[in-house]
Amino acid sequence: MAAKTLTIDGHLVSARPGETLLEAIREAGITIPTLCHLDGLSDVGACRLCLVEIEGQRRLQPACMTMVSEGMVVHTNTPRLQAYRRQIIELLFAERNHVCSVCVASGHCELQRLAGMVGMDHVRYEYLSPDCPVDISHMRFGIDHNRCVLCTRCVRACDEIEGVHTWDVAGRGVDARVITDMNQPWGTSTTCTSCGKCQLACPTGAIFPRGVTVGERPLASERIALIVEARKQRW
């Protein structure tokens, strides 16, 4: 099939049919914030950071789940989008207890990076300060719900890459939590293979290898895409 031509931020861009708008935007050298998207995993369109304006469409659309089409005219960084993105990051920081200074992922954290990217120099909303548990019942890994942003990358990595589906989400609204098996301590999970892919996929310090301290957990989420590619190519 012929390539699709679209206009992104005033530049003519050609994209392969079946490509997502996010891929096309990135290939055009434009960076837009993403959080729940991770190369190698399916998309859910949950974080709303990659929303873009598409001319002729009433609603903003998530670039990660929108397919390119011929003649599409896309704006990725309007003042309105910038304001929304900042608000979304503010809401995330206010939701749980994100204390960068004592976090294993500090310096290697997507949320921390996003705060800078969207210009969030302070949070205007009230901090909700929920009392969140830390589960270190697993031999090799721990999960600190204070740092979880509910992107569900761990859930998808476990389900789609490891094929286990140890992780899922329980509860509703701000009370939603990622859980293991039947909402039991991770260490008692009978399905977990201890592969660590959830930890690789985690954008923040929520899931971490035990024994690391502040700033010691590197961001290695690109390894998820590497695994997927390696399997496809039979490396």
Binding site: G45, R48, Q61, Y84, I88, E95, R172, G173, A176
Partner: protein
């Protein structure tokens, strides 16, 4: 089953029906106020006097005036009694015999009844929802027969399109267009889903339809399935509706036994099976993609559209999802023709709409009114104003997705576009009346708390935005808010409306925005704290 057998059932049914009948409303509202005890006393009394054959005590569906239950009607006179107590049994039997009766009567010449136009609820109060014979006796399943044997699927879709019927779940998408999309979408299988996950606070239209006339919905679904090419249907009904579920189960079993559902319906090549899926209490499962996920056995949360279910729905197959009331309109359109249907209502909103009239209103209950009727006619004439005569302040339509319309705009006609133009929505049919004593910030808080509890948590604007909005409204209510908080409230409303993933989050700010628009002074009066910071 063929047409003759159907007619034979109807004739037999009418022939064996006693002339004297006592009909009691057996829907949830009247059962809650003691209808079953009234029924037991009536039956006991008739048994004692040996008149149980001569006089039939029969269950019927909802008669509409739910605030005055238990409701009992006697035939042939048609006299209807309200607030019936078990001790009234003797008087009611006396009334049947033409004697004086002191039980309070419903004024059936009241606008509450006379302004109604019954299409969807035409059998309510006439037939026993537990008996398929009753439904067949009032003409049931003839439309399905007609459609299968005398119409092509394309003709059915055309009829629905020409009727102008729009989705009764709230958004008002043209039903014919939706059916046409499903019909032409390629897929090895197709599905029809009836959305009976009615969840708006104060809304009980769909429950009443399912409890009063379940076969009407099943027949509508079967016609839809024939039109779009589906062989499997699901009714997704909320677990909080046990009576509706029980009656649906019974109705499905009866229809299957009569060959009106299942394989080779009316001895044709058309097969259609219906199964019930019971929701587990999540409001968001009324959103179609979340509902589909729930039927598939996954966590009930929405996904971005497109693709729409009409193209890729249940298990990735083309899926038609309509609301209970939408399906309940189908047989009337087939029976009387699309031109008849489209002659009712306004230019863009055809037919009737059922509303659940509740709140500070004299006549609480269900009303089916033609589109285009004004809010004033509904609230003041049909509803009879507030119980104690306090002036009505506003009416809330559309539940947590809707808005408050002030009394000064009660000349607004009830149709999809007019309600949207004044900042509310048609919604599924909740209509909550508020009087001068109602504080509008409290109203906004109530709905925001509901949305906060019901947000699934998938997308950030809805998950956290609802909590932040609720907290700010609470702060305002406690006179601890600054003027800058009002700005933050409006900003957050915009964020949620524009960026939330599904309709729940996108419309959750509506109660706040509409009350801010019409009753801003009530917010401003509550600004208590000094200073202006944090912005």
């Amino acid at each position: 089953m063929d047409l003759h057998e159907l007619e034979a059932i109807a004739e037999r049914e009418l022939a064996q029906r006693p002339r004297l009948r006592i009909l009691y409303c057996s829907a949830t509202g009247c059962q809650a106020s003691g209808a079953l005890e009234v029924k037991r006393r009536l039956e006991g009394l008739l048994a004692e006097t040996g008149r149980q054959v001569e006089i039939d005590v029969g269950a019927v569906g909802c008669l509409g005036l739910c605030g005055r239950g238990p409701i009992v009607r006697i035939e042939p006179s048609g006299a209807t009694f309200e607030h019936v107590k078990p001790d009234d049994a003797g008087e009611i039997v006396a009334a049947l015999d033409g004697h004086a009766c002191h039980v309070a009567r419903c004024d059936q010449d009241h606008p509450f009844f006379t302004r109604q136009l019954l299409i969807v609820r035409r059998h309510c109060g006439l037939i026993n929802p537990d008996r398929i014979e009753d439904y067949i006796a009032v003409g049931g399943y003839r439309s399905l027969y007609h459609v299968i044997h005398e119409m092509t699927p394309a003709e059915v879709i055309q009829a629905i399109t020409r009727s102008g019927l729009r989705g009764r779940g709230g958004a008002g998408y043209p039903t014919g267009l939706k059916w046409a999309t499903v019909a032409k979408s390629p897929g090895e299988r197709k599905f029809v889903i009836c959305n009976a996950d009615e969840g708006d606070p104060g809304a009980f239209m769909d429950r009443s339809i399912l409890e009063s006339d379940p076969h009407l919905v099943l027949e509508g679904m079967a016609i839809a399935a024939y039109a779009v090419g589906a062989e499997q249907g699901f009714i997704y009904v909320r677990g909080e509706y046990p009576l509706a579920i029980e009656r649906l189960q019974k109705a499905i079993a009866q229809a299957r036994r009569h060959g009106l559902l299942g394989a080779q319906i009316f001895e044709s090549g058309f097969n259609f099976r219906v199964d019930i899926r019971v929701g587990a209490g999540a409001f968001v499962c009324g959103e179609e993609t979340a509902l589909i996920a729930s039927i598939e056995g996954r966590r009930g949360q929405p996904r971005p559209r497109p693709p729409y279910p009409a193209e890729s729905g249940l298990w990735g197959m083309p899926t038609l999802i309509n609301n209970v009331e939408t399906f309940a309109n189908v047989t009337a359109i087939i029976e009387n023709g699309p031109e008849w249907y489209s002659s009712i209502g306004t230019e863009k909103s055809k037919g009737t709409k059922i509303f659940a009239l509740t709140g500070k209103i004299r006549n609480t209950g269900l009303i089916e009114v033609p589109m285009g009727i004004t809010l004033r006619e509904i609230v003041e004439e049909m509803g009879g104003g507030t119980p104690d005569g306090t002036p009505v302040k506003a009416v809330q339509t559309g539940g947590p997705s809707g808005g408050c319309i002030p009394a000064s705009l009660f000349h607004t006609p009830v149709d999809y576009e007019s309600l949207a133009a004044v900042g509310s929505i048609m919604g599924s049919g909740g209509m909550v009346v508020m009087d001068e004593h109602t504080n509008m910030v409290d109203v906004a808080r109530f709905y925001m708390e509901f949305c906060k509890d019901e947000s699934c948590g998938k997308c950030i604007p809805c998950r956290v935005g609802t909590v932040q909005l609720l907290n700010m409204l609470t702060k305002l209510r406690n006179r601890q808010a600054h003027a800058s908080d009002l700005v933050k409230i409006e900003e957050l409303c915009e964020l949620m409306r524009e960026t939330s993933l599904c309709g729940l989050g996108q419309s959750a700010p509506n109660p706040v925005l509409s009350t801010l628009h019409y009753f801003r002074h009530e917010y401003e009066e509550l600004i208590g704290a000094e200073g202006d910071h944090g912005s």
